[in-house]
Symmetry: C2
Subunit: 135 residues, 2 copies
DNA sequence: GACAAATGATACTAATATGGTATCTTTATA
DNA sequence: TATAAAGATACCATATTAGTATCATTTGTC
């Protein structure tokens, strides 16, 4: 049971690297060299991050990527949403069945609480926080 | 992104029903009637719960299942472990790469904290708690 | 003892998600 | 104008999830 999939993971690594870089742009080739991740796969991920407004891309020779928004405002939760869809711990298939009172499903309520907790925590972790202390 | 899979979900429902039942045994047929879940699939789940010591089974005509341990001691976390394996939110593929200091990976540390939190919460939800208030 | 109704064991299948590849197009710049 | 970059898109392999199907075994009842 995983909470973070490979693509989210790679995205985090790439963003950390880009955030730390002294250069104004970082190309996929550079990232692949350092991160040791399959190039075609990483390129797809970078393209998605670009479309979602997390990265800004520059085409042509000497092109590459840089952050479209400050590293302090890129959160794990955002990345997970992008690559893994919305966090829905369960979709309450319990309706009409276990719950005697449809309006009050304790299972859902309890799981929703956990979900809220997780989301809060994930929303507190930014790319900036990950790179600042050698993380 | 789901935390609870279908089989865990069905297991919870079945256990809630069995916990609430006045009879000393509940058969798969009864469960299917009430829970509206595919019979063959549910039977497989019940067999697993039996093997794992959560349910006790009775073969032959008039047979069925009942709880092998009190509902107060069956927790969501246990069921998730049985059907979804151990909760490992990430397996830290960051080693040597993003982390400059292998011994101190902030990503892992932060995610581990979240994991601890989730496990604590899941360990607080028992089948008994789910049925007691009409959940 | 035969039958029916239950679980046990086990193998198979279908659908979906995950983790990639491969290829061709477009753009910028030296 | 060649080259090195990203954009777009289609494809593929594997694993996981969800579910089926079948036969064997057990046990209560007539």
């Amino acid at each position: 049971m995983k909470l973070i999939t490979r693509d989210t993971d790679y995205a985090i690594r790439a963003l950390c690297f880009i955030a730390q870089s002294k250069n104004d742009k970082v190309s996929a080739r550079e990232l692949v060299k350092t991160l040791r991740v399959p190039k075609a796969f990483l390129r797809k991920i970078l393209q998605i991050l670009n479309k979602k407004g997390v990265l800004k891309s520059y085409k042509g020779q000497g092109g590459g990527f840089n952050l479209a928004i400050p590293a302090t405002r890129i959160f794990l939760l955002d990345l997970m949403k992008i690559f893994q869809g919305p966090l829905e711990l369960n979709q309450c298939t319990f309706k009409r069945v276990v719950c005697r009172d449809v309006k009050f499903c304790l299972v859902k309520k309890k799981i929703d609480n956990i979900q809220r907790l997780v989301m809060q925590e994930l929303h507190n972790i930014s790319i900036a926080a990950l790179v600042e202390k050698g993380g």
